[in-house]
């Protein structure tokens, strides 16, 4: 077994992930919920800083030839179930104030609402899994395979990366303005 597939690699990557989420305050449901009332923009700032960092890192490491981008698994696109799943997920997110990863961090720091969210998630996945035969056609619909924004927009990878950075910087600016006002 390679190091990449080893339990140790999985554990260490997870540990760093959980550590970073807790440091940012994302184990606190009040902070996460604050995003949806435009009172606390931590979620937006952390998420987009992380996306931009990893996106730029992957782009440049690939460009200078240090990594092979083809070796990184890109989640496949199933447009309709992902959009509908996202809509449902968003409602659950604001009701519970936590998402799957942050519910684990909340529980890890002693928050019982984090534990409750974890149990609810498990129940939700379990019940949806049992009902899967009813959902299967929709689940497999609108299959686009690996489909990226550069392909969809017909623009070079580097141009889309630049556009995402510009969008993130604009979002950060707006977030700072709105936060000062509240």
């Amino acid at each position: 077994m390679s190091f990449a597939d080893s339990p140790l690699a999985a554990f260490l990557i997870g540990t760093a992930f959980g550590f970073a989420l807790e440091r940012a305050g994302l184990g606190d449901a009040r902070k996460l919920a604050g995003q949806f009332y435009l009172k606390d923009f931590t979620v937006l700032k952390v998420m987009f800083s992380a996306i931009v960092t990893a996106m730029l890192g992957a782009f440049w490491l690939g460009r200078v030839g240090l990594i092979d981008l083809a070796a990184i698994h890109v989640p496949e696109t199933f447009l309709a179930p992902q959009a509908v799943g996202g809509l449902i997920f968003g409602v659950g997110f604001v009701v519970s104030g936590l998402c799957p990863g942050t519910s684990c961090v909340a529980a890890a720091s002693g928050r019982l609402d984090g534990l409750a969210a974890m149990l609810g998630l498990l129940a939700g996945v379990l019940i949806t899994g049992l009902a899967f035969p009813l959902l299967e056609d929709f689940y497999r619909s609108t299959d686009r395979g690996v489909f990226t924004l550069p392909e969809m927009l017909g623009l070079p990878y580097g141009v889309v990366v630049t556009l995402v950075v510009a969008m993130a910087l604009a979002a950060f600016r707006l977030a700072e303005t709105l936060e000062r006002r509240s």
Partner: protein, 170 residues
Amino acid sequence: MKTAQPYANPYVAGVCLGLVLLGAFVVAGQGLGASGAFANVATGLVDAASPRTAERNDYFASYLSGGAPWTAWMVVEIVGVIAGGALSAFLAGRMRVEIARGPGIGDRSRLAYAAGGGAIMGFGAVLARGCTSGQALSGGALLSVGSWAFMLAAFAAGFIAAPLARKLWR
């Protein structure tokens, strides 16, 4: 007990999180995940209760094909998330048994809404093949169209539902 330290600057924490995500891309050839761990555990439970049900269900069967779901990569990763979250909270003096809730609801309601919201997210994450970690963060950084559709839909729905959920938080 020492007093709790304030949280880190969100941009600094976000860049660190992005470096962890980049590390996962380079080392493991895949991004981070969270809902996948719940799917593996659900599969393990169904398989333990009724192996036939698990095998005949395409969703659970897909999680059985890679070996024992209890020791899947994603489950070990999420055990790490819990360990890392606990370590960070402990070092910062933030480890405390409490129920984080808005001022307008009681502890019991808060736990019920946390679990109910969790169940709704579980439904959404199955349909979307992932959550804020696997789709929004990981697929987002790799510019997957479906991941961006998930992220935009989730936040749009959150903002639309927020006024209705106002009594939970404000």
